[in-house]
């Protein structure tokens, strides 16, 4: 597992500790899979942006739809 994935998993666990990553569909809408609201999502984006020192603009939210989308987006920003 890459460092980026470890980070994403940890932040999702902090927000949705009742959801196991193994139980979700990684290609489905992240907010649905983890049952997170807009405030949770904003907190997630805030934490990831700080950890990776990247701005996470709202205009890019569409590229952060699923777990896999988000991971790909973060991986690209982290390199």
């Amino acid at each position: 597992m890459t460092e980026t994935e470890t980070l994403l998993r940890a932040e999702l666990h902090r927000i949705a500790p009742d959801i196991e990553i193994e139980d979700i569909d990684r290609d489905e809408e992240l907010r649905e899979e983890f049952d997170i609201d807009s405030l949770d999502f904003l907190n997630l984006v805030t934490a990831l942006g700080k950890a990776l020192n990247t701005p996470m603009p709202e205009a890019d939210y569409a590229k952060m739809g699923s777990f896999n989308d988000m991971l790909a987006y973060l991986t690209q920003k982290a390199t």
Binding site: A16, P17, R31, E32, D37, S38, N43, V45, T46, P57
Partner: protein, 385 residues
């Protein structure tokens, strides 16, 4: 024979606690029944006179079998059968279920003293166990109850697990909402609101902001409600001591869902005097603390109205239940695109439905409608919020 648990099919009558001719009232104990879970007292739920027994002591009968006839006051022909209210769970006896029809020690008759060793009696008294509820025979000589019987009957050890116990959160919601629906004469209003301007303002504001500086529509809702409350004061306060008491501050409670079940609506104090950035900080702080279980009691007690939003993944509208002693709750549905009239032309617009449930003792629908329209007006000028 009452059902004293979903798995109970039959019960054995071991003792009558009333005799024919006795006056009985709701809550009186009528009989003792032996079940898989131990001896359980059967209550009467009517007022009248016990007319006759319909089954004999020692008889095992299926659930639903009439056990006795009670003549209700004023009734000429007795027709009612005894049935219990929800029985208290009773400790199970340690002995195997007796079958009184065949067991050697005969079941106790009314008035018989139970046999119990002195040590067992002391222990039973100290634990608050009524030995008479343990069945008719113990495991000792001549069917006497022994220390081991009482220990085995200790409710802290052998009580059957309560069926679906309500946790504190569910019990608190149940109590508040039951009280609300029992006491508060709610009236309901709905208003379709165009959120295009509000969303555009949020998008524009957030475009150049770091994530922790960004706004959510929720902050705009709260501010719009808080500003409207300055004029519509009869929706902001508490109904107590038989009258509406307007609040001096505007402290809207924000409904926050708790993962795993339940919700709370702690207050954002003086929300009308905070700017949108300040409101966002308060929202984040409050939501974070609620999820960590660290909000303050005054944040619940000092809320003067509730605002509840379904967020992005909900449905069109919700009609709230007022949180007593508050007198109003504003509901905001999930924003979605739909045809909307804009200056005579139908366009696809981001809309939501704003609802109000309010206490008719404190306000009327006319003012409620004006209140909703005022909130809408504020949402159309987001830059002034």
């Amino acid at each position: 024979m009452p059902s004293l648990g979903a798995d109970m099919e039959a019960g054995t009558l071991v003792e009558w606690l009333k005799v024919p001719g006795d006056a009985v009232a709701s809550g009186d104990l009528l009989a003792v029944v032996e079940t898989q879970k131990g001896a359980i007292e059967v209550e009467v739920f009517e007022e009248g006179t016990l007319e006759e027994y319909l089954i004999e002591i020692g008889k095992k009968v299926p659930v639903g079998t009439p056990m006795a006839m009670i003549r209700v006051k004023g009734e000429v022909v007795a027709e009612k059968t005894a049935a219990p209210k929800a029985p208290k769970p009773e400790p199970a006896a340690s002995k195997p279920e007796p079958t009184p029809a065949t067991s050697t020690p005969t079941p106790r008759l009314k008035g018989d003293r139970i046999r119990i060793t002195p040590a067992a009696l002391r222990l039973a008294q100290s634990k608050g166990i009524d030995a008479r509820t343990l069945g008719d025979i113990g495991t000792g000589p001549d069917g006497a109850f022994t220390l081991a019987d009482i220990e085995a009957a200790d409710p802290s050890v052998v009580s059957p697990p309560a069926v679906n116990p309500m946790d504190g959160m569910r019990a608190a919601i149940a109590a508040a909402m039951s009280r609300s629906k029992a006491e508060i004469p709610h009236y309901y209003l709905a208003h379709a609101v165009d959120l295009t301007a509000a969303q555009a303002f949020v998008d524009q504001t957030n475009a150049n902001r770091a994530p922790d500086e960004r706004l959510l529509l929720g902050a705009l809702y709260l501010k719009a409600v808080a500003k409207a409350l300055r004029k519509y004061t009869e929706f902001n306060g508490h109904f107590s001591d038989g009258a509406f008491q307007p609040a001096s501050a505007i402290n809207p409670g924000m409904a926050i869902t708790i993962r795993g079940g339940g919700l709370v609506a702690p207050a954002i104090f003086s929300a009308d005097s905070l700017d949108l950035g300040g409101l966002m900080s308060s929202i984040r702080d409050l939501a974070g603390r609620v999820r960590a279980g660290r909000f303050r009691a005054t944040e619940l007690s000092d809320a003067t109205i509730t605002v509840t939003s379904l967020g992005e993944r909900g449905v069109d509208q919700l009609f709230g239940v007022i949180y007593p002693p508050q007198v109003a709750i504003i509901g905001i549905g999930t924003p979605h695109l739909q045809p909307f009239d804009v200056n005579g032309a139908v366009q696809s617009r981001l809309t939501t439905t704003l609802t109000l449930a309010a206490d008719h003792r404190a306000s009327d629908g006319h003012r409620g409608a004006l209140f909703l329209r005022a909130i809408n007006k504020h949402l159309q000028k987001p830059e002034k919020l």
